[in-house]
């Protein structure tokens, strides 16, 4: 199958490691229509992406960072769904805005483009889920957070193991604004995701937590870049994963302190549990700095499940698979707890447990 570059690593390295570009297979199916509304009930804040006023284009442009061609071009050209979500200034949205996309026989292909515009001082959580059994999904979400806005994006992907998934998120964070990102994407046969956050203003914050789960022959490819430009910004990246069967995964996490980001702090941590002898895990924690007055730290831990933990659980009467499931669940819990919808949280958990049972 023909491949194309999806998004490159910020600093290239040895080619034999195969980590320089996120690549994904080009979809072979035709992009038909997706006629269902992802919203359970109408919400005045959510309009079709086609209704995006021209005057907001400049903000879309600023959030363009993740839109690395040709992924952005493909989504913009072929999109069959998408929303423009505007959160009014100082508006606190208590109930999460939930977009639920379900692929099925009637709508096997989804290409969605989202733009979230969080006005000054607003607070909101937007949950976007991709579920069901289809051919492929390509997505592009851009966010512009004005000063003092707080926006939490939750991405959940529970597609079947027949589905091909590639999703890209680009975020511009102005001064004193906060972006939270939670991703639970254990589904799909092939998954390629990109997150790029630009902490452009002073005191901006990015707080990202993700989980991934690989089994059978699945391949997972993630490229997260947190770029710190403003003074006193804070960036945090916490990623938990488990791999079993013959699954493969690449996670690239970049903390990029740009010159002028004085007083900024960046943290990155990835913990991977390896559960089968045929898995392949590649971890690439980059830290780039053009500024001395920063505090950056990254850590990666890759290994088998802690035998002491397993032994303890088994001494309490659990068999080995049960004990393993419990340990994986415990590792994923901090991420799952950030998913605000109880039913969705339960579904993610059940999805992972079901697949762990196959192991």
């Amino acid at each position: 199958m023909k491949q194309e570059i999806y998004s490159p690593i910020p600093e290239r390295t040895w080619r034999w490691l195969g980590v320089n570009d996120t690549r994904y297979s080009l979809p072979t199916a035709e992009v038909g229509s997706y006629n269902k509304s992802p919203l359970a009930a109408p919400d005045a804040r959510v309009r079709a992406i086609e209704e995006l006023p021209e005057k907001f284009r400049e903000f879309v442009q600023k959030a363009e960072n993740a839109a690395v061609p040709p992924a952005a071009a493909f989504v913009e050209e072929k999109k069959n769904s998408g929303s423009f979500i505007e959160i009014a200034a100082n508006d606190t949205v208590e109930t999460p805005i939930y977009l639920d996309y379900i692929l099925d026989e009637a709508s096997p292909v989804l290409v969605d483009e989202q733009f979230i515009y969080a006005r000054r001082g607003s607070k909101a959580t937007v949950v976007i889920s991709y579920r069901g059994d289809g051919a492929f999904h390509r997505g592009l979400t851009r966010i512009y957070a004005e000063p003092e806005a707080e926006i939490h994006l939750v991405k959940v992907q529970l597609l079947s193991t027949q589905t091909n998934h590639a999703d890209s998120v680009g975020v511009y964070v102005d001064k004193d604004a906060c972006f939270r990102f939670t991703a639970a994407e254990p589904g799909a046969a092939e998954s390629a995701t990109t997150l790029m956050v630009q902490l452009a203003g002073d005191n901006g914050e990015a707080d990202c937590e993700s989980l991934y789960f690989g089994d059978e022959t699945r391949s997972i490819d993630m490229n997260y870049i947190l770029r710190q430009q403003g003074k006193n910004t804070t960036a945090s990246m916490e990623v938990h994963g488990a791999l079993l069967d013959e699954s493969q995964k690449i996670f690239r996490g970049t903390l990029d302190f740009q010159r002028g980001a004085k007083g900024s702090v960046g943290r990155e941590n990835e913990e991977v549990v390896l559960l089968s002898p045929k898995v392949r895990n590649r971890s690439v924690p980059l830290m780039l700095s053009g500024e001395d007055d920063v505090d950056g730290h990254h850590a990666v831990s890759i290994g088998k499940m802690d035998e002491n933990k397993l032994f303890y659980l088994m001494s309490r009467g659990l068999d080995l698979p049960e004990a393993q499931r419990l340990v994986v669940e415990a590792a994923f819990n901090p991420v799952l707890e950030r998913v605000p919808l109880e039913s969705l949280r339960a579904e993610i958990n059940a999805y992972i447990q079901r697949r762990l049972c196959h192991a």
């Binding site: 089968s276 002898p277 971890s283 924690p285 700095s289 505090d295």
Partner: protein, 468 residues
């Protein structure tokens, strides 16, 4: 309140920058052609197979592209590099026979003095040829061979033929191919089974000719249960034209053997240092790398350890200091290719005055390497906001029986630490100097004493105000 910057002196270079008149007895044309390769081969009285090897390497060189990653190498014009410069000196084992200007150069660098006090053998290369080699008689009696590569090719041709560029084949990358085509000089060490070489051997490489390349080949074989500490030093005076260093080091550490390979690289700031080093470590063998990168304009240096036998082990300790006009892309790679192998990588880097220090590494655990363990720790200290410090580690792990940990930090000198030391009666300047010395201390500890002193000179800081 405006924060003041610490001012840290560049490494004292005067000693290294004294240049001799460039008066080679012979040198090739600039550039790289099959005729030039034949010319080098004829000058060196190569056996036929070596000429063939060189010409094949040249073909590979032309087929390969420059790396698509790393520092910009556009300043390197191979058409302008002289690949072979024979100094006006013959290889000798008697220091008094070395021509005076060359002897004075190595005297200034302290090589003969070190030989007297702390080394069991010394090799000195000037431009493309080794001019002096010696080894303690007691080692010779035990069967230890320490000689220049040309002599080794004559006197131990079978061994050289078996090992030469087998670990770093010319097709590995463009500069390995270049090395295969134009290599000259370097050291050959053979330590027989069970022999412990307790005092280090040292080879020193000096490139005096402007616009020239140095392509020395170091081949070390430490047989079963033997041990060796080998030290490599390199320097050159500064010229306004680009010089190139594309050496190659191949280390074979056999079962239960131990090799420590220490390098202090202090090339001048017009040098492109594109060096390749690799070790193959068999069962229960240990390779220890101690690597200091202080000089050169551009460096691409990542010693690689292939842990080929069960319980083989690699310890890598490195320090990189990048200042104005320097882009030092350094690091290490380890291939865990056997069960129960172990690797520890520990690096420190300092960047200042617009220098770029990039740490690059790869830890690969193959399917066969169950119960492999690896621990990587790298720390970077930036002394101003016009410099860069980047880390780019990759871990590629196959299988589930591996235990891999990686940690990296980047930052500046902590105000709290300075404050604490000052509260104990230490002046601010001394407090900061102590912290920087402490930062590189794990590396200094791993160096032989005389190099630890050189390192201390490196961090002999002139401090002013606060670090900010």
């Amino acid at each position: 309140m405006e924060k003041k910057k610490t001012f840290i002196e560049d490494i004292e270079r005067t000693l290294y920058d004294i240049k001799n008149e460039d008066k080679p007895i012979y040198q090739t044309q600039q550039g790289l052609t099959a005729d030039i390769i034949r010319d080098i081969s004829q000058q060196k009285h190569d056996p036929a197979w070596m000429l063939e090897f060189r010409l094949k390497s040249l073909d590979v060189y032309h087929q390969l592209a420059l790396p698509s990653w790393g520092p910009d190498l556009s300043e390197l014009h191979m058409d302008e590099i002289v690949t072979y410069v024979r100094p006006d000196a013959k290889m000798t084992g008697n220091w008094q026979e070395v021509p005076k200007d060359i002897k004075d150069t190595f005297d200034r660098l302290g090589i003969p003095e070190a030989e007297k006090t702390s080394l069991a053998g010394v090799g000195a290369q000037y431009d493309s040829e080794v001019v002096y080699h010696s080894i303690q008689e007691s080692l010779t009696k035990q069967g230890v061979v320490y000689t220049d590569m040309e002599t080794a090719l004559r006197e131990h041709e079978d061994i050289v033929k078996e090992y030469f560029m087998k670990l770093v084949p010319p097709k590995d990358h463009k500069f390995a191919a270049l090395h295969g085509a134009v290599w000259s000089g370097g050291s050959f060490v053979y330590v027989p089974e069970g022999v412990q070489v307790k005092i280090p051997l040292q080879s020193y490489f000096r490139l005096n000719a402007p616009g020239a390349g140095q392509f020395e080949h170091t081949l070390i074989i430490v047989e079963k249960g033997a041990s060796l500490h080998f030290i490599e030093g390199c320097s050159a005076p500064k010229y306004n034209v680009t010089n190139l260093h594309a050496g190659c080091v191949e280390l074979y550490v056999k079962e239960g053997a131990r090799l420590r390979y220490s390098t202090i690289e202090n090339w001048s700031r017009n040098m492109m240092n594109l060096n390749t080093k690799r070790a193959l470590v068999e069962k229960d063998g240990i390779i220890e790398w101690v690597s200091g990168s202080f000089g050169s304009h551009i460096s691409m240096l990542y010693p690689c350890s292939i842990l080929h036998g069960e319980h083989a082990r690699c310890d890598f300790t490195g320090v990189t200091f990048a200042s104005h006009g320097q882009h030092l892309d350094t690091g290490a790679s380890v291939i865990h290719a056997a069960p129960y192998t172990l690797s520890n990588i520990s690096t420190r880097s300092i960047s200042k005055a617009g220098g770029i220090a990039l740490y690059r590494s790869a830890v690969k655990v193959t399917e066969k390497a169950h119960h492999a363990k690896s621990s990587v720790n790298c720390e970077s200290l930036m002394l101003d906001d016009i410099s860069r410090s980047d880390t780019l580690p990759v871990m590629d792990i196959q299988g589930d029986e591996a235990d891999i940990g990686h940690e990296a930090r980047i930052g500046r000198i902590s105000d709290e630490a300075v404050f604490y030391l000052m509260s104990r009666g230490i002046s601010e300047e001394e407090a900061r100097a102590m912290i920087v010395r402490g930062f590189v201390e794990p590396i200094a500890k791993a160096l032989p004493l005389e190099y630890a002193v050189e390192m201390n000179n490196l961090v002999n800081l002139e401090l002013e105000g606060t670090m900010g």
